[in-house]
Symmetry: C2
Subunit: 303 residues, 2 copies
Amino acid sequence: MDMMSRIQHALDQQLGRARSPSAPPRLMAAMRHAVFPGGARIRPQLCLAVARACGEDAPALTDAAAVAIELLHCASLVHDDMPCFDDADTRRGQPTVHKLYGEPLALLTGDGLIVMAYQALAHAGAAHPLRLAGLIQTVCDGTGAPDGIVAGQAWECENRVDLGQYQRAKTGALFVASTCAGAQAAGADPQGWRALGECLGEAYQVADDIRDVMLQADQLGKPAGQDAHHGRPSAAANLGLLGAIDHFRGLMQAAIDSVPECPSRGAMRQLVLHESERLIPQSTCDRIERERRAAPAASHVVA
Amino acid sequence: MDMMSRIQHALDQQLGRARSPSAPPRLMAAMRHAVFPGGARIRPQLCLAVARACGEDAPALTDAAAVAIELLHCASLVHDDMPCFDDADTRRGQPTVHKLYGEPLALLTGDGLIVMAYQALAHAGAAHPLRLAGLIQTVCDGTGAPDGIVAGQAWECENRVDLGQYQRAKTGALFVASTCAGAQAAGADPQGWRALGECLGEAYQVADDIRDVMLQADQLGKPAGQDAHHGRPSAAANLGLLGAIDHFRGLMQAAIDSVPECPSRGAMRQLVLHESERLIPQSTCDRIERERRAAPAASHVVA
């Protein structure tokens, strides 16, 4: 089974485990809507890829780690889309959960997905008790306070924000959890895999900032210009578009360089390059560079 | 240290663990506001009492279980108070989190508290790996889908609701988790303690329904008449006030009868009786019965 099919299957199985005649049907439908069809699934892919690189020996635990991380990511999107944050009508080209099911169920959908992430870990972790506590700590570190995605999102409610700290928490932390949890699910030391998560997480956030100002809403599958609209810190606003693109490329190279020596180093490198191209195609970078160099005075004005 | 001081200390310690110069200060303050000063802490008390009854041998793990359950309870209150649910201005006589910190931070406070519950379990569970998976499953069962408090809350968004199922999920599930987690933290089989949690949970919900129609807002510390206002299922509406009071008393007796034979059976009985009196004082029951028997035709009209 290829990596993407494996992830979709594991997510489907986990949602299936919560199916019960006693479950409120609209909540279950809303939770499924938040998870499927889904986006690029880059975090769980990363988790799986690192587990393989570490000589994966407990596939069900790897699946659970990947599932937990994707469920937590989906939960954060559902809450992030709600009226009190982005008030987004669409996500991945579909109506957001609160648009389709209302605010109360969107709130509960996010909560339910967070809990489900730990259900997945506990279910698979019972057979690997010595790996479970570390895995849960890693996943919590990527999600909660003081430095996980919840904290990252909360920086938007502070008067003074450090851009790096905000991005590390809002996006980087769950990428770090993805690589570290992949290693831990395979019984390996996660420390050597932190840098890969850190670089990719920062690159992903920078790419998101770039795309937010660069692309039209129909290409993003969600409303564009949200960062400026909500006055949020943004690398594209801070560095200018060309500066942000340079920064993105440097981070992707650092991500590749950080991969520890292992038999599947080539495959990891390919995954990172593929992701880089998916986020900001090389052709787009080249076009913007040409345009901006032809009109240097405008290089800090966002498109 | 008495049980209540032990719980407050353990909660304070867990919140302290998330303190960091890199944490967003308003989120941390909002999370603390959601947890302190707190209410009766009946769930963590129950957890501790059952652990003691089972010959508690891992106090840090018991504390973590009690803390996790209380944090999840507080998280559900924060989200429940938000404008898309109860839109409550006060809770425990204090402004609600969203009133004090705004909706975005209230949403994130709930999320952060849910994650923190699992942080607490993973932190203490590392030293007791064989108990951790079961504990986490128990706590998840009480919280998520299909039958935990998130599901219970979600029944309010369905067109057809079974009152028993709704109450078992919304309130009962976390009481069951409290007693079962107490047993598991002590390395004991949780099954014998389920009934205690079930009876107390149902009694607590019935008491809440009774108090919602019976007491003034200043006595509750939160707005009264919320169930009728929001059209929620309620035992007091279904059975009438006298019927609901009878039901409450029966459940409290069943809770006492369910306690397994153990050296601290007397102490458990005292805890239940004390809680019963705290929820619906005997003097109040007697007064209402006298009044209603004097005017029998009005016995189904709520005060």
